[in-house]
Symmetry: C2
Subunit: 526 residues, 2 copies
């Protein structure tokens, strides 16, 4: 039994059974070892940004880590943007980066680079395997670290000789023999009773308050408790701007997302004297703008922290609900779909069409950017679904996250609402969807521009754009033909330019299993 | 005049006049500033790996840096693999990474990350602009650093407020007014006369010797001198395995490239007692293999260093030629093209077709991997051309480098020999080629697999691959239709499955201006 087999076996014993991979020569023993461990599913991605984004989507939906397989520093680099998003999502993720053999590193071969420094920027846990006999424990520790609340990226750097060297102690044992040692998952820290009591007092003070939820509080028991608290105390219920996974739809507690634009947040928080944070960070502007404050807490508003990431957020909210909302029910979204619109396809009619057709138990992956403003309203009363967003702002997240979510939940339809500009960063995710037969419907909102940057160019006060500036935000010369690109990767596609065409195409795509792409041609948001 | 204008103006004054860009909100003032500086050409890329690869290709051909424009840590991450390749190529490159405004960083907004640590892993010079008035000097220093021998990546991290704040000292001056201060380019250090004399003595010793050239010695005067030295002394002339830019073809000194596989290098260096390094590193195995030495210098062979990267390699070689090869001419490749083959399209007939048709002054960008072994022989007598290779082993380099080379040399045809697996990493380079109307002919060698990994899986001793391992190296389910993908990005494409079809398609593509793609369907190398 070699180190690679020990690692894959131990990961499987620790409950990790999906590997998103884009391997190279230094990971070949890991590739070979996958065949020794039947429980481990291997999913090939053609670019590392798809690997890491898929692992993010998987972790958000499965609640446990997938493992990545990346090839040295450049492979990690290619995966870094979506690891950044996963870090911001607090996704549990085990990131395995192959490296040159220990004794080969001093030779400074062409692929040699400083993996550790790059990995440290996104990892909550980082280890370089030092001895082959340690690999089983390294695997268990990595899984435990990934699962430590609220979820972390655990990176294991694996020199090639650690893969191919035999362990000293055993033949390959059967599954479940405890090879991996114990996975010591840290329980979330309890929130002190006084903190809950103080928060209850604040919410009952009669002064205008808002409860801002994030992390685990955007779903399940935590979300229900938060809704009850808001209903009973009159606090405004908000969730973070970019939740990792928000449960919503008919019969699910309704929550308003904090806006992206600072000026809109000012409206949402106007008059609020107490802002209670439950798993969410204090609101800040996504970017800085000249002469505009970045801290979005209104003047005279006090911030109170009920629970932070590593703390038991769900328990804190249920305790708080017990104190403040006994007998109060959560405020559930009523069922109700818009009727399917007709006429020109726009960001608005696109949204209502999605609202009209969104299937039961859908997973919506949302990187719709400027084409998205009507989506929350249009889908609020659709059947219950999960909404996954661009947590870290690094575009190119949608297609990979949709891919991983579909691997995690093969019985649920995935709808990926993707922008044209963002789609191009990680477009090869479509191939993996075809390869794996995943039930993902990708809607590319094609407006032929980096529309958000046209908006931001004005918002930052950079003046009226000249021809060069305009050209740098323009995707229309030549236009991107996503139907052709998609077919080239094995995913059937069609183009829609009216709301009716879009509705028909979306209906067909949702009715058929397997991946589909719809290029929805929409005008830019003015 | 704001900082962004000062930076772009100063870069232009320092001779940098091409900006490969994939900007975001924090770089909007830089985008706007491009319109204030007429000399600066802006080239939009749809993914940062294309930005950095294009800047690498540009720098290799122009001999001076282009500037990149990247959006915060995730943008740098996406560009990191091709920065790694550029670092290994010693390409002069000015890398500008936008960051959150200085006062915004403490708020830990979603895109906040540790840019400095990541940038340090690829940069020979790294600075974070500390004051807007420093930007002109920062620009000059960055260009000087990029040009310092043998060429470096100079990264400037630019907080957004440094872009939009006005400089204190001036309105926007005209070009060439010396705004940027002086660009103090370091001259290459002279190689001591004794070193040249000692090397001459070694080469004249009568013992078997080899001269291994790299860097600037793979072209021009240095290459001619190296060829003369080898001819006069009987030393074997070799160049590094992956030269950044190798001049070759009819009438150019002929040089054999050090092989990729260690066992082949052993043959090339068999019996060599003295290995003289001129701008090349001592040969090492690309990867480690179990039980195989990584240092490829044969036993009993002494290594002598004539010149290292920062030293005046060309001068050292011409001095050495004066001492050892007075009156000896370089060994030039005779003209001669293979006839265009017929029959099935294979890696071999593909190579001979390229050899038959390669146009005058072509720039060949070679990421052909396992489909490439016949190319050097087939093109040795073609008209003089430059050969650009995958210097750092991070795949996804070909299409972007071809894009940048075409921007640098608009009067020369660019032929990009690309593998199917590698093409998928940075495929959106095709869009930039169409957008800019670049004369690039991309040949995608499509064998439906990561063929090199099939080879390496066996070479590393990982045993006979099982079904999961085979699936991770297989690109055929579904097959990638590069003609469709290419058309979707505005580049006309056709598919060739016979040598005749390939020859006809290549002839058409080379005859027409603008970008073309040919999907050359070849069997995997056995």
């Amino acid at each position: 039994m070699n180190g690679a087999q020990s690692l894959i076996r131990s990961l499987a014993d620790a409950g990790v059974d999906v590997c998103f991979a884009n391997p190279g020569t230094s990971e070949m023993h890991l590739v070979a070892a996958l065949d020794q461990v039947p429980e481990m599913r291997a999913v090939l991605c053609l670019f590392e940004g798809v690997v890491t984004g898929a692992a993010d989507g998987y972790g958000r939906m499965a609640g446990r880590p997938a493992v990545t397989l990346l090839h040295l520093g450049p492979g990690l680099g290619n995966g870094l943007a979506n690891l950044h998003n996963a870090r911001r999502a607090s996704t549990p993720l085990v990131n395995v980066v192959g490296d040159n053999a220990t004794y080969h590193k001093r030779l400074d071969a062409p692929l040699e680079s400083d993996i550790d420094s790059v990995a440290a920027t996104v990892s909550g846990w980082l280890r370089r395997t030092a001895a082959v006999d340690d690999l089983a424990a390294d695997a268990a520790d990595a899984v435990a670290a990934a699962l430590s609340p609220p979820g972390r990226i655990a990176t294991l750097i694996l020199p090639a000789d650690m893969s191919w060297t035999d362990v000293s102690w055993s033949d390959l044992p059967a599954a479940g023999t405890g090879l991996s040692g114990s996975v010591d998952v840290v329980e979330p820290a309890p929130v002190a009773g006084e903190v809950v009591a103080q928060t209850a007092a604040v919410l009952r003070s009669g002064e205008p308050a808002a409860l801002l939820i994030g992390g685990a509080a955007t779903r399940g028991e935590g979300l229900r408790a938060a809704s009850r608290i808001a209903a009973a105390t009159g606090a405004k219920l908000l969730c973070e701007t970019f939740p990792a996974r928000l449960e919503r739809g008919a019969g699910v507690p309704e929550v308003e997302r904090l806006a992206y634009l600072a000026e809109a947040v000012a409206g949402q928080l106007a008059g609020v004297r107490h802002l209670v944070l439950a798993g969410a960070a204090s609101p800040v502007s996504f970017f800085a703008y000249p002469g505009v404050a970045g801290d979005l807490v209104p003047e005279g508003c006090q911030v109170h922290i009920l629970a932070r990431g590593p703390e038991d957020l769900t328990r804190a909210l249920t305790d708080l609900a017990e104190r403040t909302a006994a007998g109060t029910a959560p405020q559930l979204a009523p069922p109700g779909r818009p009727s399917a619109p007709s006429g020109p396809l726009t960001a608005e009619t696109m949204a209502y069409t999605v609202g009209a057709l969104l299937p039961e138990r859908a997973i919506v992956v949302d990187e719709s950017n400027t084409s998205g403003p009507w989506l929350p309203g249009a889908t609020a009363g659709a059947p219950p679904h999960d909404w996954l967003t661009l947590t870290g702002g690094a575009i190119g997240q949608g297609l990979p996250v949709a891919t991983g979510a579909a691997v995690a939940c093969p019985d649920r339809p995935v709808v990926c609402l993707e922008s044209d500009g963002s789609a191009m960063y990680t477009i090869s995710a479509l191939w993996t969807q075809a390869h794996q037969g995943l039930d993902v419907t990708t809607v590319v909102l094609s407006n032929g521009s980096y529309a958000i940057l046209n908006m931001e160019l004005r918002r930052v006060g950079a003046g009226e754009p000249g021809p060069k500036a305009r050209e740098l935000l323009d995707l229309s010369r030549p236009g991107l033909d996503f139907v052709s690109i998609s077919r080239g990767m094995g995913v059937p596609g069609e183009r829609a330019v009216t709301a009716e065409e879009f509705g028909a195409a979306l209906g067909r795509a949702l009715a058929e299993p397997g991946p589909h792409l719809i290029e929805a041609v929409v005008p830019p948001l003015v």
